[in-house]
């Protein structure tokens, strides 16, 4: 049975983003997926990188967070919450991030889940990035709400392309770690919609989830075009 892990963030339990989460969960379960969930507000996840993330330090005098991550992985000394979240991602075939877009990006709580859980040495490391990343073979899907209207995004539009605004997440984080990053699902203008418009978005999401196997993936940098220090190769 394939496994989907949903990471969900919203400060209001009855929000439309919670309905997006439930739509993902119910539709994937109906298709035969095992669905697991991290609700980052409900579990009180701490998003701040701290020295205390490493009960046993490789260097107690100077915190290099990524080096301590690698050491904690190798020494099997991860903080319990980081281990729990890491294992949930490792078990999954599909990672689904469900969140409201704050400032053209993820909320701090989800950013901190990435900062702390996407461990150096497991998710990436050295030249293990993009197609060689630690998550190669898994897929990732972003399902996000925003207040802006669709016409504010795109070539020549006010804010430019929304995929471009989310490139640090889609390419720089998920793609970087090796996930095949599926075309994201956006719910626009959410705070201003009527109930029937919200229902139509949930129906559109359900319809797209039914076609998940054929959902297009975003292009990522092709490592064969770069040399051993990631300089572009001469054509």
């Amino acid at each position: 049975m394939p496994v989907a892990h949903i990471v969900y963030v919203h400060p209001e339990p009855r929000s439309f983003v919670a309905a997006l989460r439930d739509t993902v969960r119910d539709n994937l379960a109906a298709q035969g997926w095992e669905v697991t969930l991290s609700d980052l507000h409900a579990c009180g996840f701490d998003p701040v990188v701290r020295a205390s993330d490493f009960p046993v330090r490789q260097d107690p005098d100077y915190l290099n967070y990524a080096l301590e991550q690698r050491h904690a992985v190798a020494a099997n000394q991860l903080a319990p919450d980081i281990r729990r979240e890491m294992e949930a991602v490792l078990r999954a075939d599909l990672l689904v991030l469900v969140f409201p877009i704050f400032w053209f990006s993820v909320p701090a709580l989800l950013k901190g889940w990435i900062d702390r859980v996407f461990l150096s040495g497991v998710f990436y490391g050295g030249k293990r990035i993009y197609a060689q990343g630690g998550m190669a073979g898994k897929r990732a899907l972003v399902v996000a709400s925003l207040g802006g209207r669709e016409h504010m995004f795109g070539p020549g539009a006010l804010h430019g392309e929304l995929d471009g605004m989310l490139r640090p997440l889609l390419q720089g984080t998920l793609g970087y770690c090796g996930f095949e990053v599926l075309q994201p699902f956006f719910a626009y203008h959410v705070p201003y919609l009527e109930a029937d418009q919200r229902s139509a978005i949930l129906a559109r999401l359900a319809g797209e989830l039914a076609c998940l196997p054929s959902r297009p993936a975003l292009p990522m940098p092709d490592l064969t075009r770069y040399d051993e220090v990631f300089r572009p190769r001469m054509p």
Copy 2:
């Protein structure tokens, strides 16, 4: 006396990013600026948006964070930490964000400072964005470190353009609120540098700070090109 407010984030007090912060502080002070500082790790800033940010709720049953922000501003009922940080920004002529780039973006702690402090109704609201934003007349400067090398960024490079990766911050946050966003300062490859290379970066930063009045600003969307619902006007 002009005022510069530095917002600084790093989990290691003796990091190179702390040296970048000190270089900004000392050089601006020597030029006659009053310099204030928010050290987000040291002050234990909470980066998570929560219902408890609003001791008096406009709607106690359903949390719409931006609407409660507007209400709390109007009712003079801001949480003490949000008020303190907001007032520091309002007092400043120049906002300087000093941080390590995590995942092509700000650390969660700085993202949460933005999520909670950049209040709807003060920093932006309705059509008060970009040149009409609440921070119009102020300038903002990003000073950031990263592990990547300079050749990994740019047109045709592995990760694409670094300014593009930071567009959610530079345009979607600072520019959106009306700041004139100065060309950012990046320190590349920092974890792998020798002491003399780090000193050279600090010297380059000091030199650029000496020319701050003529530092170029990044282009932002021109609101006159969009109609009253921010649709592109016909040419």
